[in-house]
Symmetry: C2
Subunit: 477 residues, 2 copies
């Protein structure tokens, strides 16, 4: 085990290295892909369970569509193929023979799902139709980064069809609100909800909503999106229905996706110099118990006590590990579990046994006086669950404070551009709406992350014409 | 909605048709693939949740490995590539360019997982290593049948490495026992556990264990398998470790998989002339409530009452739908939900309201006298949960009785072969162990489904030499 690269001065290497050392991912022999190891996959399973419940609560049903899509399908919608064709993986041979028509590995499933919608939607009675799929997708990426950008990733993709544009907008914004809630209240990651500029929209969408985050290195991360698709999109697949009045109409569709990128966002938001930090709600392991003893007599008594503690925590549904490996020193165990970001450590040694106390160690505190607390073994379960809740709250607060400190009100791109390029951060400014002014942001390696609801800036960051809307500008992953 | 084909005389068409009419699957535009619609996917979700708990209870951890595997990997193990090469889908182009080395879409993941095991296993301390993956796989199939055989399917694949052969055998048989338990106690499908003959083993395995079922048309179905792999398999990927004594050894590996084929087994075991029959434990909908009324006054009173009933059932965790669609007649609703195999229907009409009763209708009974029962509305929840349990038990018993009636003790292949070819069924007989005698079974369109533990037959079915083991012979999917 090597020392982690310095998180402050070398965030990118810290990220790569902490993922490998904490056994979250590993390099794979397939270029551009990563192996998600059990500890990392457990984070995704937690997210899946939480999100799946929320999706079902919106009245959306899970289904499954083929991985391989006839190539012609992607070509039916002009903007869609334009957006995705550079990223496709193509199956040309199957069962030892060259295929008559190549199949693409799905980069997203609108095309095949709309083909089915055309069959399933014939009357106004069939609307809304709300489907979700948990799946893997492949997009050919050259510059990969674990979770953030890889050739294959895991996600859910929601696809819905509605009678009116308003209903579609409501669905897309409800999906966005669901995502923002999951980020903030489950992953303790502050989430900015906004609208994408036209140039940053999903290929074939009329409107793209986004949830943006700010990582510790001052770069923004697009954490998930939802889209209201152009009606031409379902129309390209002959999706239409007979309305109550007998006229034939095209439904208004949405799609929305949440990916394993969320695991990257989680890690890049909370980790520190000692490794990962897991917010308790998503933590695969919430508590590790480390017994400390020297003599055989102490060993017997302390192991009996900590086994009882583990049983009590298990009974309360606390995800808890007792590390009773006798080939390792307590210090080695502290290091091991801190690296993995387990939020609470319970220590019990001979003196604690005598006083009927245990020591609780808080993973996120750096102040030594606050890091440890001694509590009665009798109240252990409630002390632990209280501390887990405190850590969950504090992680969100801490990340919010950091975001606030890096969120700047800015007037002129010429002024804030160099600052952004050098230091990162979020810059709220005005925009006239022109693609030319938007393109200027690239000169400072930034992009418009999203359009904001509020309006504090009256002139455009570049041309100084009247601003139509406030925007948030940042360098991004 | 058309009438279903006759289940007795035309089982294959009944199966295809019931899946479409009950909205379990739909044809897809990708040849050889099917769309799993929400009602079918909910069955798979139930199975996944149940099986995932059992897998974790065995100490196995979930992880995720890339979908696309370098082609050279499959060639490292001679028998493995021989078995799988006719079934591969090959990606030759990515991101607009021809790939230097083609990638195969995983048909199973031993090869890429062993590549990782070689990295993760270095010492005896790293064993056992037990990993599971929930994933989609692709095997190029020409003759497809929904769930039973399709180009793409969903599954879990367990992969473990152990210090000794005995431990590997224990793992493979534990996995098999877990599957058998799931089939019988969750899906109410009788399951025969046995060992495959050499010719039927997984490509690269020393031993393949199987769970076989008998469908209503008298054909056997291989419902899942587990394997002890030849040591040469991990050795081909340089998987080895240093043992306590300092010597370098190759671990003993297993793999085991359970697929969406289980949904096919479930449906082919229980369905009847009116449609699907869902065993209550896996049923996406366990109870449908149908209110019956004519006048507005009745409507108000009965809807209030059945909404209360639904609330009570929901509170007890019963998966329950209230069908209050007023555009459909009660008769149309009965038909709709019977087709979908919902095990219990609750009816309430004006007379029931007066007498404070409800009518429970049992989906699996054909005897009219037994099909309906009148119970007090006050005890409804316990009456319903009792009936669900009864139906679960009776479905398993009924399927067991059918299997028993079609399980024949047989001496000579020449005698039972024509009977099997004409009528299906299971034939327990003796076998000398020679591949020549095994090959003769094919003349009657059958195969050895598995070797059995018990020994009732002393001579081989074909050559009449002494039998080494009892076998079960059948025509199969």
């Amino acid at each position: 085990m090597n020392k982690l690269p310095d998180i402050g001065s070398n965030f990118a290497e810290w990220y790569q290295e902490v993922l490998v050392q904490a056994e979250v991912i590993d390099a794979s022999p397939t270029k551009g892909c990563f192996v998600i190891r059990p500890y990392g996959y457990a984070m995704w399973e937690g997210i899946q369970q939480e999100l799946d419940k929320k999706i079902k609560a919106l009245g959306v049903q899970n289904a499954y569509f083929p991985l391989l899509i006839p190539e012609a399908f992607l070509k039916k919608e002009a903007k869609h193929i334009e957006g995705f064709s550079p990223e496709l993986a193509v199956v040309t041979h199957g069962g030892g023979n060259k295929l008559e028509e190549p199949l693409v590995v799905r980069p997203t499933s609108e095309t095949i799902i709309y083909h089915m919608f055309a069959k399933w939607i014939t009357s106004w009675r069939d609307l809304p139709l709300s489907i979700n799929q948990w799946a893997n997708v492949v997009r050919w990426e050259m510059r990969t980064r674990p979770f953030v950008r890889s050739l294959e990733f895991l996600w859910q993709e929601g696809h819905t069809a509605h009678a009116t544009h308003e209903e579609a907008v409501t669905m897309a914004t409800n999906a966005l609100a669901m995502y923002k809630d999951l980020y903030e209240n489950y992953l303790a990651v502050p989430a900015i909800a906004g609208v994408k500029s036209e140039s940053e929209r999903f290929a074939g969408a009329d409107q793209t909503y986004t949830v943006e985050g700010l990582m510790q290195d001052g770069k923004a991360l697009q954490m998930c999106t939802s889209h209201v698709l152009a009606q031409s999109f379902p129309a390209s697949f002959d999706v239409n229905y007979q309305d109550k009045d007998g006229t034939v109409k095209v439904p208004h569709c949405t799609s929305w996706g949440f990916t394993t990128r969320s695991v990257g966002a989680l890690i890049m938001t909370h980790g520190d110099g000692n490794g990962l930090i897991m917010p308790p709600r998503v933590a695969p392991i919430q508590v590790v118990i480390v017994p400390i003893f020297k003599t055989d007599e102490e060993r017997t008594a302390i192991l009996a006590k900590v086994r009882g503690i583990k049983k009590d925590l298990d009974a309360q549904g606390v995800r808890c590990v007792l590390d009773d490996d006798e080939t390792k020193t307590p210090g080695a165990k502290f290091f091991h579990w801190e690296l993995r970001g387990v939020p609470v450590r319970v220590e019990m040694g001979p003196k604690d046994l005598v006083s009927n106390n245990v020591v609780l160690v808080n993973r996120i505190e750096t102040d030594k006086a606050k890091k440890k607390s001694v509590v009665s073994a009798d109240n252990l379960v409630s002390s632990v669950t209280d501390l887990l809740q405190t850590i969950q709250n504090n992680l969100l607060q801490r990340a919010r404070d950091r975001m606030r400190s890096q969120w700047h009100q800015a007037d002129k791109l010429a002024t804030f551009g160099p600052q952004m390029d050098a230091n990162g951060g979020l810059y709220q400014t005005g925009w006239c709406g022109s693609p030319d002014c938007e393109a200027k942001v690239k000169e400072f390696k930034g992009t418009i992350r999203c359009l904001l609801d509020e309006k504090q800036h009256s002139t455009c960051m570049h041309c100084t014409q009247p601003s139509k809307t406030d925007i948030l500008v940042a360098k991004a992953y």
